[in-house]
Amino acid sequence: MRNRLFGAIGLGAVALLLGSCSGDLPQNTFDPAGPVAQKQADLIIPVLWVAAGVFVLVEGGIVLIALKYRHRKGEERTPPQTHGNTRLEIGWTIAPALILAFVMVPTVGLIWELSERPADAMHVTVKGYQWWWGFEYTDPEMTVGYGSSGPIVTADTLVVPVGQTVDLSLEAVGGGARDAEGEADHAVIHSFWTPRLFGKQDVVPGHEGNIVFSADEPGTYWGQCAEFCGLQHGRMWFRVVVLDEAAWAAWVANEKTPGAEPSSALARQGMDLFLNGEFDGGQCIACHAVGGTEAGGIAAPDLTHFAAPTHECFAGCNWDTFVNGEPNLDDLKAWLRDPGAVKLGAKMPDYGLSEDEIDAIAAYLYSLT
Amino acid sequence: MADAAIAHDEHQTTTGLPSTKLGMWLFLSSECLLFGALITAYVLYRGSSLVGPYPNDVFDIPYTSVSSFVLLASSLTMVLAHAAAEQRDFGRMRVWLLTTAMLGMTFVGGQVYEFTVFVEEGLRIDTNLFGTTFFVLTGFHGVHVTVGVLMLLSLVGMSSARRLPDDQAFPVEMVGLYWHFVDIVWIVIFTVVYLVPTPSPGG
């Protein structure tokens, strides 16, 4: 029993060590990439060490007692009939209480520290839909240079500059799109989480949640919805793309421009279908927007810069928009053929598009850089 | 809780109290939390309705005061029924029990009428938060009064058919506990819902 137990402890410890060192765990909470996640990890790791100490003492104690005082065949022994000991009781009431009090001091400090909202932050509104994320850059300098000069809007990827403190306002949205059965998406509770950057904050309809964070290094960080939000909760992913200063400036400049004019004939045909096509059950532009065109739907992901390289993934990050730098036409076409087959219950219905129409629309979307 | 009317072999309990009485008290303490939660929901949503009608638009305080008085009077008749049972005057006990049941039915009837008036005035259970919390809270209470009336009528019937145990005062006392509880809850509901003024955006 003892060997097996220590084996298990050893295995667990090794696993944790492996976990914290390896780079191929994109949602590892013990591999922080920003100050918030760093503080959250720094707080728990010493506590886990304390817990490990208690674990060894208590479990070791139980195993030792069980082995030492086990009944042996043929041995007649009368155990002492002890009923209790008040001093001991007081001792093992106070000792754990002291340990816990010791642990709670930095905990309370960090609760308050993380609830602060600095003034110099960049503001982004995060919108949780069933089942994808949208982002609106609400600061005045982040308005677009076309149309009614609204905020920069993206879907599925949150793009931020490195080192910049970002203040996220969280909002649950619903009521726009409908799936093939006519079931609307609803404003329900989600939870916004990027393990390597920050812990969760629930997105509650009727409430405005907040997260303040920043990222230390450029890169792509995985996140996903962490509160059960219905059918496709398991695939409500997103990514946080952190850019260095130059790339950030370029990204902002590009986002402020309207969607590109298509250059190829196929893409132009796709644009026509996108803007004017009437399909079984509706039009693309009823839900989707492409900046600079009459497409102004707000119930579904904004497609203005669908093919920008920072827009890494689509449909709740169900599929990557680029594979090895090449447009991922296969997954986009499968999605256009029948979204519900790719992601059961997706709020984009199957419009019964022909293969030619799918080719054209795909070409148009990949012209939107 | 109809079986509360059945006295078990209570002679040798640890506390000396009949188990049925202890059980009834525990049940009623659970009921306190039930109504506590319902009242909390009402108070929490007080003034949160986004559209009317609001409480001031529909409440008829004098009318509800009268029906509240009817319910309170039934507590008195319940006490009289119990007193009669203790004096083993079971005829008089049945009269008072019936009176109590009639008063209870009058209250429930008044509530049903009040509900229909509110609905006519445009306040339904799905109209706004006021309608939601009001109908659910007072409706739950009304169901409790109705259950109490059923228990009272059963007592009368069983007493007439001589199906009650010899000590008829005991089942009457148990039903009385429940009845008084339901009355007291109404005093709280009446105060919180009708008497405490509600800020309403519409007036």
Partner: protein, 624 residues
Amino acid sequence: MASVSVVAPSKGLVRRPMATGGFWSWFTTVDHKKIGIMYGISAFVFFVIGGLEALLIRAQLYQPDGTLLNADQYNQIFTTHGITMVFLFVMPMAAAFFNYLIPLMIGARDVAFPRLNAFSFWAFILGAMFLYSSAFLGGLPNCGWFCYAPNSTTDPTSGATFYALGLLIAGIASTVGAVNLAVTVINLRAPGMSLFRVPVLVWMGLVVQLLLVFSLPIITVALFQLLFDRRFNTAFFDPTRGGEPLLWQHMFWLFGHPEVYVLILPAFAIFSEILPVFSRKPLFGYQFVVFSGIAIGFIGFGVWAHHMYAAGLGPVANTAFGISTAIIGVPTGIKIFNWMATMYKGDLRLQSPMLFCIGGIMMFVIGGLSGVTHSIVPSDYQQTDTYYVVAHFHYVIFGGGVFAFFGGLVYWWPKVFARMFPERLSKLVFWLMLIGFNLTFGPMHILGLGGMIRRTYTYPEGLGLTLWNQLATVGSFIIALSVAIFALGAIASFRKPKGLANEDPWDARTLEWMTACPPAAHNFDEIPTVHALDEFWHRKYAEDKEGRLVRVPAGASDHEPDGHGVALAIHLPSPSFWPLVAALGLPVMSYGVIYSWWLIGIGAIITVTALMGWAMEPSVAEEH
């Protein structure tokens, strides 16, 4: 037990069932022991069903992008797994132990309200069947056992409606049962059995029942609100009409956290009974074990919002609930230290009930330690809603609870069935279950810290957590194997003839072992008079001047003979079918809420008629 068949007295509304033996007698019994056995069997059946659901979950997650279940099926399965294990396995299994043992342990002939006891059982089983009938009526509940609004109020399937109604029926069953058992403990103790002479199991039973009495009404109201929002379009949790989704969470967890202790205190109760017997020592610090149990019960009402740190309640609430969560660790620790001290210097008989207890305590310690980390609020923003939490509560409820239940089943098996549970098989069950359990739930700590969310039907390969998922799946099938072996052992024990060589096979300490195995319908021929904690032990053993145990020769006890309740004058409550009929009206009314007002009326008539018949029927059939 001889089958007694007597013609009912003519006064009843309908002829009264009198048989106390035979198949049909189970439907009319009011005997707490038979009801306890029925609770146990049903709970075990639901454990197997819930376990099969768990195997489906693990099979789906064995590899990335699993395709065994689709999102819809998975959501139904994980929801039903949770509901089944909490409401249809752990709670009724605890009810089985409490129902069977409490009257025996306090020297009572039955519970305070035997027919209400039968009603509780039938309401529970019918509520469970109602819940599962949803599988054929549009799908099982799919909103998680916590069923957060507004996802649950807007979901287009009828799953959440079945959830609300099914749990309401189960809640009625539990409330009635809780009142019944609490009154039994308070009021029906044998002469001399003061509250500080009752076994810890009875104490914990009382605390559990009181927790239920005070927490169930809250979830009852919440379930009605959810039901009305879905069915009658009320606005309780509808933010578009000013409703507050967090109200559901507050009410759910205000019930839900005491509920956690409802699930674990029965395990503490069983540990506290078995450890002293197999250590051949009294329980160390009896009062402290009892008071810490009471303290856990009280503080359990003050920690609910630690399920909601990420909901945005603000730093004040998070600080307060973080601290209360840390505090509740203290009384839990007290219990563990007292159990260790009970074993210390004992003469430990490592038979399977003891192994299950030691293993269970050790597993519970792990769950307790990870529970304490939940008080570290800022870090919990990372761990909440991940597999770390799944690992935590399985170490508590499976590691603590299920191990205790299996230990308790083996320990009281001879009491109930007059046959020993095959020891070699139960030891095998223990070791297999210990290995399978750790293999399943140990890796889930790593899964959670590595970023895998709960309630997800899939995960991408890129998450890098495939190996740990595979280990967990393998472990779950080892657990399944251990449970199958347990079932085999149960069958094997029944193939042996009834009868024990020794009616006190473990040399036990408490009153239930002072009577026959299985006990007669009236439990005790003579109600014992109690002089001490561990009464039965003190009738067997005295301590000599050096504090050593000396067996008291039979018949030489210095106790006065028990003089209460001479066997001849025992009037046991008679069987009745009204409890079953009254319970039958509840699911009928529930179907009515979903399908037709007429059914509500029919169900109400069934229940009211049954209650009338019940009230008219004397608890004890008259002499003839």
